[in-house]
Symmetry: C2
């Protein structure tokens, strides 16, 4: 599929992340206005609340877009999702008769503040990248026990904390936590010294379900994707995670990119999952290409200094798709709801430069990562800005996500002395 041209001139380049082929959904505000739904096109945002109020878009009896989240639109279901995309394309394409009416409803992205694009109902994080799981397993349990016995049969996941999900550019404060190093004789309460990123994709559930669903149904129920950084306190994690999994190590923040890239925008980039070492059981079997060819990049910029790319990988390195994760999530009967967010798990490629976390890149702090500034990093330092980038490259166009960034603030002096 080639670039679709728009009368919004900045949408017609091979490099813009937001051509007419994309049409991602976000929430924005400008000085003195309430946050509301918007659609990115080139360097502009279409004000969806205004478009609806003017009658240009009419999908439901009640207004859907004069709210700071896309949950109401999601709840309308896939037929309305498709109708909206069709209508937006008609309004914004080259030659559209609506241009004169729509043009005044465009807001320059440079003047906008972006907010969380949806209300997170519940947040689940998976561990479904094979290279990442192998790397972590090798460091923690030795190469011969790297992958747990269940790993090749089910997408291992755990429930996370929805209240700590934040949008790109929200600063992230280094947490305190209980720690105990291998040579300490007792634990202590201290700021995290091994604060890390996890490069992931997030899938957003757009349809409620109540009971087990198939992989195909799960794929149908996914509304779209964002970039996701599951900030991780490795020293807190090492002390707390046995036997019930990570808890406070993952509670500080999870950052997502501000634009929900929808499934139709990503459809041309669908790819098959990797070859299966063991045949998956029927309820998890691949039923079509459900991963995506999306280039991913991690940059790290020390305070006031230029950024260095510390990793490049691709979403197609995952072993399980988000559809398989969502299907697995429902097997025991748990209801899933509009706005549930599923983190893919850290995405690492087979090469050292393709690893999606510092614990892998620095091999647990033993092989410091070299930055272009001359500095090195084992883990994140105060003042560092860590940014995830993602884009799928089409025939003369790009589907981008917008950056997923967070700057590390120093730990509080002592959170219990106030």
């Amino acid at each position: 599929m080639p670039l679709k041209t728009s009368w919004v001139a900045t949408a017609n380049s091979a490099e813009t992340p937001f051509p007419l082929n994309n049409l991602p959904y976000g929430v924005f505000s400008t000085d003195g206005t309430e946050a509301r739904c918007g659609v990115a096109i080139g360097d502009m945002i279409l004000d969806m609340a205004a478009a609806e109020e003017s009658g240009l878009i009419a999908l439901a009896d009640d207004p859907l877009f004069d709210v700071p989240y896309w949950n109401d639109l999601m709840a309308q279901g896939p037929a309305v999702w498709a109708a909206l995309r069709e209508r937006l394309t008609a309004l914004l394409e080259e030659g559209s008769e609506a241009r004169e009416t729509v043009e005044p409803l465009l807001v320059p992205m440079a003047q906008a503040t972006l907010h969380m694009p949806f209300m997170v109902s519940e947040y689940t994080d998976f561990y479904a990248g094979r290279h990442h799981a192998t790397n972590i397993g090798t460091m923690f349990r030795g190469a011969e026990n790297a992958l747990p016995p269940n790993w090749l049969h089910i997408p291992i996941g755990y429930n996370g904390r929805a209240s700590s999900v934040v949008v790109s550019d929200t600063p992230v404060r280094r947490p305190w936590g209980q720690l105990k190093g291998p040579n300490d004789d007792k634990p202590r309460f201290a700021p995290c010294a091994r604060f890390d990123l996890e490069l992931e994709m997030g899938a957003i559930v757009g349809v409620d379900s109540d009971g087990p669903i198939t992989v195909q149904e799960a794929d149908n129920n996914i509304f779209g994707y964002v970039l996701l950084n599951d900030w991780s306190a490795r020293d807190i994690q090492a002390w707390e995670y046995q036997p019930l999994g990570p808890f406070q190590a993952k509670a500080t923040a999870t950052t997502i990119s501000p634009w929900i890239v929808t499934k139709p925008a990503l459809d041309p980039f669908r790819v098959d999952a990797p070859a299966r070492e063991f045949e998956l059981l029927d309820h998890l079997k691949d039923v079509g290409p459900m991963l995506y060819d999306i280039d991913l990049e991690v940059t790290l910029a020390p305070d006031g200094k230029p950024a260095t790319t510390i990793a490049r990988t691709n979403y197609k390195e995952m072993y399980y798709s988000s559809a398989q994760q969502l299907a697995h999530h429902t097997t025991a009967g748990s209801p899933m709801n509009v706005g549930d967010l599923l983190g893919s798990g850290t995405i690492s490629g087979p090469e050292k430069t393709q690893r999606g976390s510092l614990i892998e890149l620095s091999w647990g702090g033993k092989e410091p990562v070299q930055l272009d500034t001359g500095e090195t990093r084992n883990f994140l330092e105060d003042g560092d800005t860590l940014t995830l980038h993602g884009s799928a490259r089409g025939d003369g166009y790009t589907i981008g996500f917008g950056p997923c960034a967070g700057k590390i603030l120093p730990a509080l002096d002592d959170p219990y002395k106030r």
Copy 2:
């Protein structure tokens, strides 16, 4: 503190779970009416929506009680919680001048259907009962490694699934899941064969927080308590839980009792936590009695047959209080919200008859539990009704919670053949 007498005659016995000393908060409906807030008194429910509409209760500018949840009242904060309790006591006490106005607003409990008393924001489950953790650890890892090294230093917990929390009397369907027994050479997808209960208390967060809070602040932020059964699929859990903790094993349902028993009702029953084997770090230190002397009982009734009491224990057997759990929950900076639910962890006493789960009572299925009907149980069978009971015994009065019950429905034939 003795029994406080009420003009509602059935509230004035030593045995009623709902004397004037209690005043627990629930959500109810009767035939043809919308679910709304109510307060239990004797065998009656005070219709709070009606009391508010009539002007008998006026705590805020907007109505608080004509909704099917207590979250709006909780969000008003502890001063309003106290004002409500004071007002309810004045309206319902013996000799109240309001009796004639209030009496028509009472609905017989026998005619009411009880609903979820609050909207669960997020659900966290802990593992903070020492006897339970020791029993489980002994079965899984041997007596010498029963308690993980971190257990005596932090309340171990994991995030659960809020969407699967249901109110007492909701049937619970036996889940399917991926299983692999120790002698199987590969996993299979099958109905759970080791479905279990976990006897717990649930603490409800009533105040938002955004950053680390102290144990005292955490205690202040707790609105009240319910009984909680964290249904557990032991065979699914055994296969999935390494390395990131339980997931689908705990996703089927978590049942809570229908009445929120508030902190002031429980205050006379506060007790100290047990002696500490290791001194807790400052941020988790005991700052007063924050456990409660609440008798707990588990009954099991096979389909159509009488119930047998299979366990009796007490909430004071916990090692960590809910306040310590909530404080720990905030250490890494996670925001906590009104409506967050914290499961205490399974409450077992030191004796065999005091164990709060069948896996402990039957010692992993090796020592079947004898029922009064002549049957035995290792785990739950289809048709069984499992009920938790809780009560604190005061001077001539009882603070009860109402039963926390669920009947086991057979597994679906095959959830993926529809």
